[in-house]
Assembly symmetry: C2
Homo-oligomer: 345 residues x 2
């Protein structure tokens, strides 16, 4: 059998407890499932730590664990999400993301073919984003003690001189820019989970935004703040920004792009799309005068075609986000409590 099979030859078809115990089967899993896809000069060293040279500027460091369920969903999977999410967390700080770690917790019995699909798509996403996975770790827990697979990615990047974006930099008068439609990722996952019939039309927006962010910063280095509105959606992110900078934010409801299918699913599930997670969108707060320049750069980019100004920073109601509705009334956009959308990323 070893001679006739060109695919990775493994003793087992599913994850075994011994695959996580640091012995021969751990080596086999690394050598036959991880390394063929993730191989690079750093990871090949197989030391306890990766080593690389510093680049000019400050170091940025970020971490996120991904527990999304289901692990495969329309538009992506947990592996892709784990790469794009951490790349974005670095990039919204103005950093150029460079090196990622990957820590896996696997459930005994997970089909190795599913693990390999996930690893393969991590490798592809990393390539697209221009980052390297330089160190990793794999643990296995008994069947029923984790749900298929959890992935932690941490990342290191470098913030070029002269860039200073922070959630504490918002100034009254600034424009609030959104890169595109909201709620796509969260609704793709929710509708798949709930088995709703229109699920196939909603796709996750998972994408690495570092390329677009770089282009924006090259043209407008004076961007005040950037954030990717993931868990808690645009509502949570803008509330955090308003609170961190002690300013108010005023939104124009008609300006916020929501896909028809996402709006429909949100209504059916009783969820405000403003509170739904995005995985390929970003919010930027920029000096009013730079609005058009930023929008021009973003709209020329595949991930920012629908970029739009959705509101502005105001002196009034510090810490609060207020929405002007199409009927001219105003409502407070609250920080979501967080009970409706578990395991969305």
């Amino acid at each position: 059998m070893q001679l006739s099979c060109p695919a990775p030859i493994l003793q087992h078809e599913t994850v075994q407890m011994a695959h996580g115990a640091g012995g021969r089967l751990s080596q086999e899993l690394t050598g036959r499932v991880f390394m063929p896809h993730l191989q690079n000069a750093f990871l090949d060293q197989l030391d306890d730590q990766a080593r690389f040279d510093a680049e000019p500027g400050q170091i940025a460091f970020s971490t996120d664990t991904y527990v999304v369920s289901p692990i495969f969903f329309p538009g992506g999977n947990i592996g892709e999400l784990a790469i794009n999410g951490t790349v974005n967390d670095l990039a919204v700080g103005g950093a150029v993301p460079r090196y990622l770690s990957a820590g896996f917790v696997l459930e005994e019995g997970l089909p190795l073919v599913e693990l390999e699909m996930i690893v393969k798509s991590m490798a592809e996403s990393a390539r697209k984003a221009g980052v390297l996975i330089v160190c990793g770790d794999t643990k296995v827990v008994q069947k029923g003690q984790c749900d298929k697979i959890f992935i932690n990615t941490s990342g290191v990047g470098f913030i070029p001189e002269g860039i200073n974006v922070s959630c504490r930099n918002l100034k009254p008068g600034d424009a609030v820019i959104l890169s595109g439609t909201i709620g796509d990722h969260g609704m793709a996952v929710m509708t798949t989970r709930e088995g709703l019939s229109f699920q196939s039309r909603i796709k996750s927006d998972t994408a690495a935004l570092n390329g677009m962010i770089r282009e924006v910063l090259d043209v407008v280095p004076s961007v005040h703040a950037m954030r990717d509105p993931t868990r808690g959606g645009v509502a949570a992110t803008l509330n955090e920004l308003a609170s961190s900078s002690s300013v108010g934010i005023e939104l124009d409801e008609t300006a916020i792009p929501v896909r028809e299918e996402v709006r429909g699913a949100s209504e059916l599930l009783g969820i405000d799309p403003l509170t739904v997670a995005n995985e390929g969108k970003m919010l930027l707060v920029v000096p009013q005068a730079d609005t058009e320049a930023v929008l021009t750069v973003m709209r020329a980019h595949e991930h920012g075609r629908e970029a739009v100004c959705i509101g502005r920073v105001v002196e009034e109601h510090p810490g609060m986000v207020v929405m002007r509705t199409p009927f001219g009334s105003r409502r407070i956009v609250e920080m979501p409590l967080g009970e409706q959308l578990p395991r969305i990323c």
Copy 2:
């Protein structure tokens, strides 16, 4: 109640799904359980990424996820382990560990008092090791979809100029040094899990070794390789070193220190102590001429009092570890398969 209770005031006594959803309850968990213990100038920023200045030398980057069961065991808990483990992974590469991330996966229903004990001991361990936890993430999964708590820590450190330790540096003639008794951590966890009566006498050796490693490198910068023999124990680590450097390793069985209780428990459970995880021990491979200098420094340190030379690197049998028994015979120390000791770290 809010007025009369000096302790953190939380709406719930256990972890709720909403604690991981990025909304108000997530903020409450961060503000009331994590921040009081972990607070520092970097973490206080609450941005999506931590930022810090590079230090001279190469950057070292490492990751590990901790899934040990039980989460509290004689001599430590999962939080302490998560800090010390990643600190050691950086330090054995010759790096000065500086910044750590912490990624939590929590099971719905985990008592917050247990979470707080773990976080508190992470803070204490970080302080002892001289590292800062600068970024973090918390996810919550439904009851039954993870086992209480999993913690990923990733770490960044800096490798001073002139240090070059690597698993590929072993040279025939080198001495193999072990910092103390083997098997303590693994046997503390195993005997607790199995409910064996002598459990109380075996304690985990979990400890941060970066202080001792620094002192060794200050005196003997020419150390060839260092490793902490965790999963798979001394057997797995030495097999990896032998294989990476294409050399043989010869051990002297009588030289390897094993506590009486650990030997007894190992015999009862049918496990070779050489394959059992350690969490506060290290193996060093040093030029023969530096052996005494290294042992002197180590023995003066609380974590190296029982440091001893246990063998040497040889040209013969490359990739293989061979043990000389007290009776003068020789046996091969194999890479463990890895089935006996799940969830040990």
